[in-house]
Symmetry: D2
Subunit: 378 residues, 4 copies
Amino acid sequence: MIRVVIIGQGLVGTHFAVGIERLKQNIILDYGVPLGRKIPIPYKNIEIVGSYDVDNEKVGKTIYDIALRVFPKEEVPETLKDIVVKRGIHLDSLKGLPFKAEGIEKGRSLREAIDQLVDEWRSLNADVFINVITTEPAEVIGSVEKIEKRIDEGKISASQAYAYAVAEYSRRVKSAVFINAIPSPIANDPGFVDLFRRNNAVVFGDDGATGATPLTADLLEHLHERNRRVLDIAQFNIGGNSDFLALDQPDRNTMKKKTKSSIVEDILGYSVPNYIRPTGYLEPLGDRKFVAMIIEYLSFNNFKDELYIVARINDSPALAGLLIDLVRLGKIALDKKAYGTIYEINAFYMKNPGPYKAKSIAKTKAYDKLLSWLRINT
Amino acid sequence: MIRVVIIGQGLVGTHFAVGIERLKQNIILDYGVPLGRKIPIPYKNIEIVGSYDVDNEKVGKTIYDIALRVFPKEEVPETLKDIVVKRGIHLDSLKGLPFKAEGIEKGRSLREAIDQLVDEWRSLNADVFINVITTEPAEVIGSVEKIEKRIDEGKISASQAYAYAVAEYSRRVKSAVFINAIPSPIANDPGFVDLFRRNNAVVFGDDGATGATPLTADLLEHLHERNRRVLDIAQFNIGGNSDFLALDQPDRNTMKKKTKSSIVEDILGYSVPNYIRPTGYLEPLGDRKFVAMIIEYLSFNNFKDELYIVARINDSPALAGLLIDLVRLGKIALDKKAYGTIYEINAFYMKNPGPYKAKSIAKTKAYDKLLSWLRINT
Amino acid sequence: MIRVVIIGQGLVGTHFAVGIERLKQNIILDYGVPLGRKIPIPYKNIEIVGSYDVDNEKVGKTIYDIALRVFPKEEVPETLKDIVVKRGIHLDSLKGLPFKAEGIEKGRSLREAIDQLVDEWRSLNADVFINVITTEPAEVIGSVEKIEKRIDEGKISASQAYAYAVAEYSRRVKSAVFINAIPSPIANDPGFVDLFRRNNAVVFGDDGATGATPLTADLLEHLHERNRRVLDIAQFNIGGNSDFLALDQPDRNTMKKKTKSSIVEDILGYSVPNYIRPTGYLEPLGDRKFVAMIIEYLSFNNFKDELYIVARINDSPALAGLLIDLVRLGKIALDKKAYGTIYEINAFYMKNPGPYKAKSIAKTKAYDKLLSWLRINT
Amino acid sequence: MIRVVIIGQGLVGTHFAVGIERLKQNIILDYGVPLGRKIPIPYKNIEIVGSYDVDNEKVGKTIYDIALRVFPKEEVPETLKDIVVKRGIHLDSLKGLPFKAEGIEKGRSLREAIDQLVDEWRSLNADVFINVITTEPAEVIGSVEKIEKRIDEGKISASQAYAYAVAEYSRRVKSAVFINAIPSPIANDPGFVDLFRRNNAVVFGDDGATGATPLTADLLEHLHERNRRVLDIAQFNIGGNSDFLALDQPDRNTMKKKTKSSIVEDILGYSVPNYIRPTGYLEPLGDRKFVAMIIEYLSFNNFKDELYIVARINDSPALAGLLIDLVRLGKIALDKKAYGTIYEINAFYMKNPGPYKAKSIAKTKAYDKLLSWLRINT
């Protein structure tokens, strides 16, 4: 069994929970789970054992209760009634957003809060932690020493604190995996990768590669392989889920903009004027975001071609599908004792694949590398 | 030097001629030539030595004259004044289209016409033949014997007759290359591949992979690698060049529909309801065709995503850019004595890659195979 | 009360039936009913009293049963259990489509079949007849005499036979309204308009203005009012309902193409190369069709602008919403004794507004005329 | 003759100047000039007599010189060599943008600068002033007294100072027209309208209705006339001209956002969540901006339809075409002594039609009002 803890019981966490239970009960097929049955870990081996959040509207509720806010009753598996959302670390990660939130660090030191988490996780016997909290401002810290200092001071983002806690848990209890599906740099922070390696732990990250960005990566590769000269790219994203609400704040938006636009130069080998970022919040769109994109390029004989893409993409299920793989790949990494971070996995599943300064490559090339790491023949 | 003969002095042939001369004169960069400087054959080694057509408005004119109908005067290289378009084989390939056309086979046997071509080519000392005549109805013949019989009877399409002539030229004069950039099955006809192999000749084909089809192939691969379930695909193409005019005839349209829709099942591994074909002719669009596409698929948890693509693509330059590579690859194949056809080249450059029953694969995967065949490291 | 008979219990008829019942029960709001509460006839005055079809899978069933094939059970009003679909006139209107169909004219003269319908309608005391059978080949007949002759011979389309029957019913029983929501020319046939006028009956038609065509009309007006020069228009439509299946047959497709492209010159005052027609059938799209459109035009100083429109439109509900108005407008016309046909109504609600040779105008201009006919101030 | 002064010799002013000269010389047709030959003032009656700017790169140059930066030499009329760009009022209107700018108010009072302008204009015997300076932050002042006070203090935007100067010119010299084609509220400021009326002057404004906004207005009207319920609208605009560069500054962007989104509620009669604003700057797009839009609405029976629009629009020519009309309408207004502002003109030509609190209506309805004001029968 792979015992999973969800950190951030938002839409993605809820789609993950509902989806894995429905998969286990054979109610749905495994569409959107990239590796599907190509890896020999059956879905029934995945068990959700814990869930954390800081939104007062969620803490104390079961995942079942929370899922009812999104799914029709007949689609929510009863098994989710068993998992109650516990209070986690806040560290102002929801500051400025219209939620009442509070963290277990309130009124005491962050180290004490982390100790409590580690103890809770020990009793859950957890293996894999999925970080899907709301996008927060955060930056690379750089070394284990500086991370320790920041933990002492409590000057650190929530994701970083959770990553630290998972590393601690690995040191004190058992080797574990931290999957960082949001933009905060963890797998891209040499300090954190070092910390995980030292503590026999695994980290995947950063920022799950869903939506228009991986598609853009593969489109750019397509143009690149034809030696077309890309002149400009604009990519607009607008949605109505709480992630878009959060990204309306400039410092959070910057987090996304960075992970989204780095791909262009990495893939093409030259810089291109671009405008790639989440653009706004429009409530009625809900989780089914609207993407609009233009790519202009020069073809042979200096003729200019134009490519326009419009898409409607269900944001949270796409990421939840990737997480089903990442949980299983975490288990494989633990079995292989492949501690630290693994570029071959990050390159396919993440927008900003760690380790630090690793290049983005086209996702289709990353897919080949992934299969090759897994020794799967295509 | 690689001595090239253009068969069909239409838009593609003209873009090829203008483009290669401008490349040789360093007036343009090599955007749209996929391999660019990755293969060690400089553009200046390519020399156009002959051109054939059956349209009375073109035969007897120079490529320079014809290019002036499309390009502003200052962009047409003077060197094209040296090449006069000769009359080629018609065999009703322009039947039903608003052109006055006549072939050298008129009033005598097809074999005599072919003999004349072989003699002309001998005097040109040609190496590579590019077939870019207008899309014609044609079907697989199947064996060398049957091809010979059809030649005897004159019951064969123009492309097939040209292919036969190039094979004959290879037998009688020197090994040569036939690049079939239109849908007529040549590299997909076991008979022709056999004939080329026996005669120490090379054939690439069929149907140059430009426009929306290779893009669709790579998009489908992108979805496939995420295990998304494609529900339906529609791809509309409309343009105003003479190829679209030709494709308004049902039997020619069917030729394109076949090569376009075969990719879907090959890449995804299951059949998908689809509507992929040239849709119509709209004169003011000219060579800059309009493509509109929808792809619907199931993501994780059975959520349906929708992808819409709108593109404006300059049809002829795109294919001309590929031909610059194919001419050079033809030379490499001759040097390697790789007679018959070469899947690793066809798979990337062709919509319907020969040999017969070879699978379509994503173009990005084909690109890797191509580099690997060329022993180029990525 | 307005007693309505549905002719053709397909998707549109079913959306009409389900929608009007839900409107009467205040389950839905009247979105998509253009005049809404601007005209003083409440929805509860509309009563469906009869339904006709020729598909053996439908005849004998209730509208309730048929609605269950499309709507979830909880959305289908119980009141629809009372209306059983009767067998109507076939006259090969479904020929070539994958349905088993038979008409009451089988084995006897068409006049006898029409007499039977008139008798049935007498007992239903019907006021308004909605023609929503599948698009069929049909052409203008031209005079009452010729119509009579065709009825005698049985050489007439199903819609024309129904229209004749409604005129007969008006003569023998009471003034009634025939709403022709399909392309067959009825309101555009001087013979039929004459027949209706003579018999104190009303006809609206032809071809309900839903989908991309009315939008195109208003877009063209928008460009026209800015004196922009439209260069070309292409409009692709593809869907998965049985109307698209029918339109895959060339003679039916031609019916639609005519009513769709006539608007361009009427509105702009000059002819424009265009490609406007239903393009294909793609089953998984269902009733939610995909529309893709390009309009290119010259702006000031000869600069070319480009407009691309992509839409997903639920085909049948849109027409059903218009029918709610047309039924009420039919009643108003009867009260006003406005026999024959009424351009001010057709111009807004129809793609090809009768009478014969009446011009298409922009729908927004037609809307003003409609309100003015109704003496509603804006 | 109508003697015209251009204020702001940017792209729009240059397209206006080049276009009117080419129209007068019959080199181009009057596409994009809405009223064209419907009003009896020939284009040759329009004469550009002056031009103002504050960009040091432009002041002292002729319009001919400036036009060469945008148009190929053969398209720039020689007549433009006669008009030298004079230095105008700056008042920080280009602050923060990458231009070196300076105004004639530098080193003296604003009233002295205005006096100088009035004197220059007297010698030019000007009739109509076109304000096409870069979008600047500005807000309603409200009364003539407050405007006078702001002029005394020099605390006013450049457009407002120009408007004041034109009013002064009208008082001291002759009745004149101020056409405010940018978002600064002039025709929407009761103070300015009052001032113009008192001084026998005419003002049109505000913010020329080009691009996607008037199209959106007519699309919303189209939906409104079908009683469809609009759920949400997002409209993205990105371009590479200096207006988009300016709009990247938040306070300037707000100016546009206001005039763009006010139309929604005015036309539909209810508020709709929307995201309508210039979105970003992407240099290679140049003046040919990229617009992407989504509109979702409920159709009959609660079905949701989706409309996506992608457009490439040449920004500056579109506005220049409107200005050709507005100059001539200004002359008509002067002849009619219709002082103050004229809603019937503003409603069609402006995004935010004055007077203050006047409602936006669909442009197609405004067009009818315009023709009716002009007593032109449709």
